[in-house]
Amino acid sequence: MITVDNLRKNYFSDKSGKFAGIGKENGLSFEVNDGEVFGVIGPDGAGKTTLFRILASLLLPDSGSATMNGIDVVKNYKQIRRIIGYMPGRFSLYQDLSVEENLRFFATVFNTTIEENYDLIKDIYQQIEPFKTRRAGALSGGMKQKLALSCALIHKPDVLILDEPTTGVDPVSRKEFWDMLKRLKEQGIIILVSTAYMDEASRCDRIALMRDGQFIATDTPQGIIDAYAETLWAVQTENMSTSLNDLRSCSEVLSCFAFGDKHHITVEHGFTKEELSGFLKEKGYRNVKIEAISPSVEDCFMALTKD
């Protein structure tokens, strides 16, 4: 079990030129239960990596505390490093070593062998085993990810910390990756995963929506969606780029965001589709399609960060 209590870490970011970090207003507090996949979801710069690095004992928090299975991540960092499997956001294996050499190296680093824990990584490693003599740098994005996961798992960690594991990975490999996480979860491993892809949220047991270093909502994916109270419509017109601004100019439309080939809008209570359709026709749009839709996690995120 992971317990995080009132965690704060602020620093000056050279990249954005402003203060970044987590828990600036209220310290972060949350718990992750055994055998749970906990997703931290938010855009770039939300503080996901900072949070994960603190939990992986790689950064010191300014204040607050965090424990994993009762072990403090600051005081007992050496013990923490034995029980976690950490996969940084950037591919961080040795590109000039082969697949097998990488795995063997990390197994030895963690005082174990590939053979000892082979059953744990078997499902994943079997997919890249045909390429085991290939240098890691020559692997595809999806295969790199599988190798990195194998290396993070080789010592049978209690907690798996995955920082944006699916960024830059093709959709098929992403789906496979989440299937693998599901199987690992069944082995009782706590999985802490972050992503900027909102559509991956539903694969987690519980998610925290994160922005500007704060959790703006923590619940099951369904719970987050159920809490959505707005009237949500998807609108399609012939000219999508101009209609975005025209929709926003309509006084009854509360918010309007582009979602691929549709605009998702929320409207005031009592406003009807016919009224909106009339508004758009007046603006000169034809073939207007409006339908009520159920919200996705992304809609919830937009609604929660609107103000």
């Binding site: 034995r82 000039d96 005082n111």
Partner: protein, 368 residues
Amino acid sequence: MKQFFAFVKKEFYHILRDGRTMLILLGMPVVQILLFGFAINMDVQHIRTAVYDPSQDETSRQIVQRITANPYFDMQGEVYSMQEIQDLLRRGDIDMAVVFDEAFQTNLVHSGKSQIQIITDASDPNLGTISTNYVLAIIGQYQQEMMGLTGIPYQIDIKSKLLYNPEMISAYTFVPGIMGLVLMIICAIMTSISIVREKERGTMEVLLASPLRPATVLISKTIPYLTLSFVNLISILLLAVFVLHVPIQGNLLLLIAVSILFIFLALALGLLISTLVRTQVTAILIAGLGLMMPTLILSGMIFPIGNMPQPLQWLSALVPARWYIAAVKKIMIEGLGFIYVIKEVSILVGMSVFLIVFSIFNIKTRLE
């Protein structure tokens, strides 16, 4: 211990698989030794010389002939007044003028004494001194031959005895210096880059999040590079002996042992640098340029330490290459044994221990 060996193995893979870098690391010392060996050549050649010989007698003719025949001098011809010499020197047309006494031979034969004046362009003091010495040597040799022939002890008694390097071949004095410089820089660059590369590529983050101890990482980084540097040392010694013709007078094993100690020190210095910087570029700048200047200037390789102002002398005591170069000079050129280099060796050992301990103490257990 298994972790340690796995790490050493991994480092060897990195080195062996990066052919280009390995070529640079093994080729650079060779190029540097050759460049330094030939470029920092203090043997003065092509000394443009003019002669003013009012006496025009047999003895002076013979001496002029010898100077002309010497490959170090480019005889520019005769002049006929002191004024002419001054003009030529001022215009930079000649580097040196040899002026004979009037009635040179007569004086020599009758009073047993005669005079030769050597005027050199001393705007480069080294050049001035060295060319004067050359002429002195030529005249001295001539005198001895005359004495052998005639049995009369003419009184131009020039004795100059240069210990260890009677021919003034500068490679003798420079090779130890170059060895110190090249080994210091190559080794420090190698280790500092290898750790900083792990930081840059993000692999350090994974290593930190593992039970691997930072000290293990540091120490195991030195082993492969120690091996590589040993290859470099051998190639440097081979070049010194067979290309620069510097003989190894002392015990070869002692020389190699002291060199390995110095290599270890330089590797440790590289480790320390790597714990302080974040990017490979900074590591190269600090290890390359930052070490180059003090090593060149304060090690005694070019400028004698005894001539430096006191504060610089104290500073030079901190430059490891100073002690290594001193030890190599003693072993390689002077052929002295271990007892004579105990001081240097102890200082090098002390510095290595300090650097290793300090780097281990300094290495961060977290990302900064």
